[in-house]
Amino acid sequence: MVSTPKREQARAARAEAADREPHGWLGLVFIAPSMVFIGGLFVIPLVMTAWMSFYHWPLLGRRKFIGLDNYAELLGDTQLWQSLGFTLLYTVLVTAAILVVAFPLALLVDRPLRNTGIFRTIYFMPVVIGFGAASTLWMWLLNPDSGVFSRLLLGLGIVDAAPRPLESFWPALAVVILMVVWKTAGFTMVILLTGLQSIPQEIAEAAKIDGANAFSRFRRITLPLMRNALLLALVLNITSSMLAFDQFFIITQGGPENSTISAVFSIYLASFSSYRLGYGSALSFALLVVLVAISSIQLSFMRQRPEEGR
């Protein structure tokens, strides 16, 4: 092909404007496959969840429109309210526990000493292991007969009989929280670490020269400047804890006496154990509304004064 100056010029003009306008349709072609996936396997199921929640919908057999009956049943479902209450309790406790552990971890690995990189890697390592592997691993650690913990506690003379934490509510909840802290504290540590490292060194140095002690430096400088990182850690931990399933399905199996059935666990039971797909959808939709509400409140709180967290 012979390229004439004219054509060259046209091409240059096209290229110049390319970032703004031309070939717009081509962009649509590029995003089309992703739209098929997100549309077909996310947006449609989302709409279906709302739609199905108005039906009596068994796995086999005929579905029947029942209006708001599923929601009426939901309001009177004591097991459901108990599991929602339990999920909230778990969320509050585990989020607090994770922050209490992860903040010192972040401070510890932020120090300009050698070896902090190794510690960072080690603290983070359990994050990449799945909840399935982590839960079964801790089942063994906690097992009264062959697990490490009971052997250690007995060996050190701390207890006289092997502890059986899964047989009552609070110990069962405590061991799940311990497992989750072990598995996820490293994740929160990294988020807090990015917050810590965004604090300009000069500010801390200036305060130090002005004679502020370590505690007041932490309270007056570090904490306020980390507001966004802390809020983000809070949002992510709260939403993921509200959606907890694996650890309760695997470690406590909902017990003792159905006291550790989380919200997602009750959706699973309704839809895939009782095969009441309509009721499961109503539960899903209710949970969805609660979660979106929580995260939008938190996110708007975070956006209020964005300049402070920088």
Binding site: S3, A15, E16, A18, D19, R20, E21, F30, I31, P33, F37, I38, G40, L41, F42, V43, I44, P45, L46, T49, L108, T121, I122, Y123, M125, P126, V128, I129, G130, F131, G132, A133, T136, W138, W140, N143, G147, V148, R151, W182, A185, V190, I191, Q201, L232, L236, T239, L243, D246, F249, I250, V264, I267, S271, L277, S281, L287, L291, S295, S296
Partner: protein, 288 residues
């Protein structure tokens, strides 16, 4: 960058403080590391020895009997490992093939409704996939993809897309327009532009996307539990839970530890090798 401080030439109190902090760091490292180490160590112990002393890190006899017994679990652990590998590879390939052009389209083109579509894609990150599993089950059944590894790949890919598109859009956004213009003037086609100029520069973003696709599909439990019903289609996490629920009330802890080791191993190796990309993805996804 901060200066590296050495332990020498500083007041004794500070050096003492540093030593205390190092000690605390070490104790915490033991807490985070030991469960993994114990599990791996016990997976290589003969059953009797594991029961006698599960705390010991080194056994007198190195044994692979636990791994051999894992071959008799259900369809055999290698079948489950193969399923997990297939699902993870499928999810990586599909996610990259779809998210890379999508990120490119969002970053380098202007078309009507673009920002609205992007906001919708990002909003799906706020909606938990756990809440749409019930209709997804019906959709997969309708497509004939329920109890099917490929069906699960489609679901995992969809869950990965919002984050991956976000990641790729940022990667392409960071490529200077001047570079693209220069290539266009030199007569590069759209395709050549994407393949020769953009892709090499966006490669770190692709690595991050692929790594997250791997870890999330490898470790996912709930969707696999719901969508796979045939014994020989299970993934490794489902196998672990089956082993941990025992047969006639007896749990084969040795086989379980072998299974846990097999399941954890690729994740840890990958993380150690590509840590940089992982943390990049975390902070990018988090600080959006």
């Amino acid at each position: 960058m901060r200066k590296l401080t050495t332990l020498h030439g500083r007041p004794a109190s500070e050096r003492l403080g540093d030593a205390a902090l190092l000690l605390i760091s070490l104790l915490l490292a033991i807490f985070f590391l030991m469960p993994i180490v114990w599990s791996v160590a016990n997976s290589f112990k003969p059953a009797a020895e594991a029961l006698a002393n599960p705390v010991a890190l080194f056994s007198k006899a190195f044994s692979l009997e636990n791994y051999r017994r894992l071959e008799d679990v259900g369809a055999g652990w290698y079948v489950y490992a193969a399923n997990s590998v297939l699902i993870a590879l499928g999810t990586i390939v599909l996610t990259v093939l779809i998210a890379v052009p999508a990120g490119y389209g969002f970053a380098k083109f202007r078309f009507p409704g673009q920002s609205l579509i992007f906001v919708v894609v990002m909003a799906t990150m706020m909606i938990p996939f756990q809440s749409i599993l019930t209709p997804l089950f019906l959709i997969l059944k309708f497509l004939g993809l329920q109890n099917n590894l490929f069906g699960l790949v489609l679901v995992y890919t969809t869950f990965q897309l919002p984050f991956s598109i976000f990641m790729m859009r940022n990667s392409f956004d960071a490529i200077p327009s001047a570079l693209i213009e220069a290539a266009r003037i030199d007569g590069a086609s759209q395709w050549a532009l994407l393949r020769r100029i953009m892709m090499p520069l966006a490669l770190p973003g692709v690595a991050t996307v692929a790594m997250f696709a791997f870890l999330n599909s490898w470790n996912e439990f709930l969707a696999a539990l719901i969508f796979l019903s045939d014994q020989n289609k299970f993934t490794l996490p489902i196998m672990l839970v089956n082993v941990s629920s025992g047969i006639y009330g007896i749990i084969d802890w040795g086989a379980l530890q072998a299974g846990i080791t097999v399941t954890m191993f690729p994740c840890i190796v990958l993380f150690l090798a590509l840590q940089r990309y992982y943390v990049r993805g975390l902070t990018a996804g988090a600080v959006k």
